[in-house]
Amino acid sequence: MLTAAQGGAPWAVEVLYRAHHPALLRYLRARLPATAEDLASQVWLEVAGALPRFSGDEQAFCGFLFTVAGRRLANERRRMGRRKEDSSAVSPEPPPAPDVESTVLDRMDGDAAAALVVDLLPAAQADVVLLRVLGGLDVDEVAAALGRRPGTVRVLQHRALKRLAEHLGGDDRLSDPHRL
């Protein structure tokens, strides 16, 4: 299917789109809800331009897709001149976790879950979590997509997990840095 898409077969391109567009759109909506649709189209066109030279399986293609999306997102945020991290710096205290987390989490759809991650985490940590979970990228791929070192990505991921655990579970063990 990927080979057919690389040859320009419309049906294969449509299959690729159907398979990966929901996760891509969820990722972009979580970061920039206002321009997610436009960004997704730009990402797909850029990926299509590079598709004939792509080599790898479908998992690698997923990583490639989210890498392009991450770069597009970074460019868009840079262009807008307003990052989520700045707003978190203004109000360092994270928003309070919902009281009925367990019931909400059971009924939460993907977009809401991604939005919750973005709300609870600083921008850099949220980027790592979204790319790891939604894009299925490993640490090295996330590092390449974000322009960071793999060690930095691991640190961001660790802090993101601690923070999510603090707000979602309230487990003291998970909030203890010496335990992790």
């Binding site: 797909w44 331009g49 987390e101 790891r132 979970v133 490993d138 487990d171 998970l174 335990r179």
Partner: protein, 289 residues
């Protein structure tokens, strides 16, 4: 140990093992997190049909990129040269520079350069303390103008050229001498107020025309060979000692008016010299009284 194992499993949540947390034993705080991850990974609502325009654009882009691969960036010709070739070229250029520089230096040291180039080399190298003969001067002709004088000290006045006019029995021209055509060089001697040149009156056929032989107080600073007073037959104002024509001393045409303006002393200097040799004028009023 169980707590550490649970924490370790929880850390694996984002490394692809998130689903196992939901099914297996898990720490208390990891369960909401596992639900969150599961919700994020849940397949969303697949689009009913992808936008036709977007798919068409993607297909066109793929076909265009496949048939026309992006051109490789142009690399300059020198950029494709190997490192050995570039190193060899650099060595050859350095050798050429050394060769040309050495040859030029040797030619300048022996005075073999053309006059203009030799003068230039003389000026430049004399500033850095390298003795290089001037133009028209052989390398072994003795010290140059900047060499120490007979008294041991540096000569403040450039020696005239060998072809300069000399008066029999006189020493070489001192500083401040002004050569007038047809007369011996007059020396500035402080002997009263300056005598303005007399240009009025008919030219005498018996004697030489009045010449601006200004005799006045010595200047407080050495008068260099500056531009000589303009004269039709006088030396050109080139800052060099006057050089007589090869036929002998300069001759003046009888009856030709001489318009040699004397140096006009400044008012302060005239006032200082009018009262006699009272010393230099200073701002502190040393001349008063």
């Amino acid at each position: 140990m169980a707590r550490d194992d649970g924490a370790e499993e929880w850390v694996r949540l984002l490394t692809g093992a998130g689903d196992h947390l939901v099914s297996g034993p898990q720490p208390e705080g990891a369960e909401p997190l596992a639900r969150l991850v599961a919700a994020m990974r849940a397949p969303g609502h697949a689009p009913e049909a992808p936008p036709v325009e977007l798919v068409a654009s993607m297909v066109a882009t793929i076909q265009r990129a496949g048939t026309h691969p992006p051109a490789a960036p142009k690399v300059p010709r020198w950029g494709r040269q190997s490192g050995v070739a570039r190193s060899m070229a650099a060595r050859l250029a350095l050798a050429a520079v050394v060769l040309v520089g050495g040859a030029s230096g040797a030619a300048a040291a022996t005075g073999s350069l053309p006059d203009a180039a030799q003068a230039r080399a003389h000026d430049v190298l004399s500033r850095v303390g390298v003795s290089v003969p001037g133009p028209g001067r052989p390398a072994d002709a003795g010290p140059g103008p900047g060499a120490p004088g007979p008294g041991g000290g540096p000569s403040t006045c450039p020696q005239p050229a060998p072809a300069a006019p000399t008066v029999p029995g006189s020493s070489p021209l001192p500083c401040g001498a002004i050569l007038a055509p047809g007369r011996a060089p007059s020396i500035l001697v402080p002997s009263g107020p300056p005598v303005l040149p007399s240009v009025a009156g008919p030219p005498s056929a018996a004697g030489p025309p009045p010449v601006a032989g200004w005799v006045g107080p010595p200047p407080s600073r050495p008068v260099p060979y500056g531009p000589a007073p303009s004269h039709p037959d006088g030396p050109p104002p080139s800052g060099k000692p006057p050089v007589p024509p090869p036929g002998g001393p300069p001759r003046t045409r009888p009856g030709s008016p001489v318009s040699t303006p004397p140096p006009v002393p400044r008012p302060g200097r005239v006032a200082a010299t009018a009262g006699g040799a009272a010393g230099p004028t200073t701002a502190r009023g040393g001349l008063h009284g």
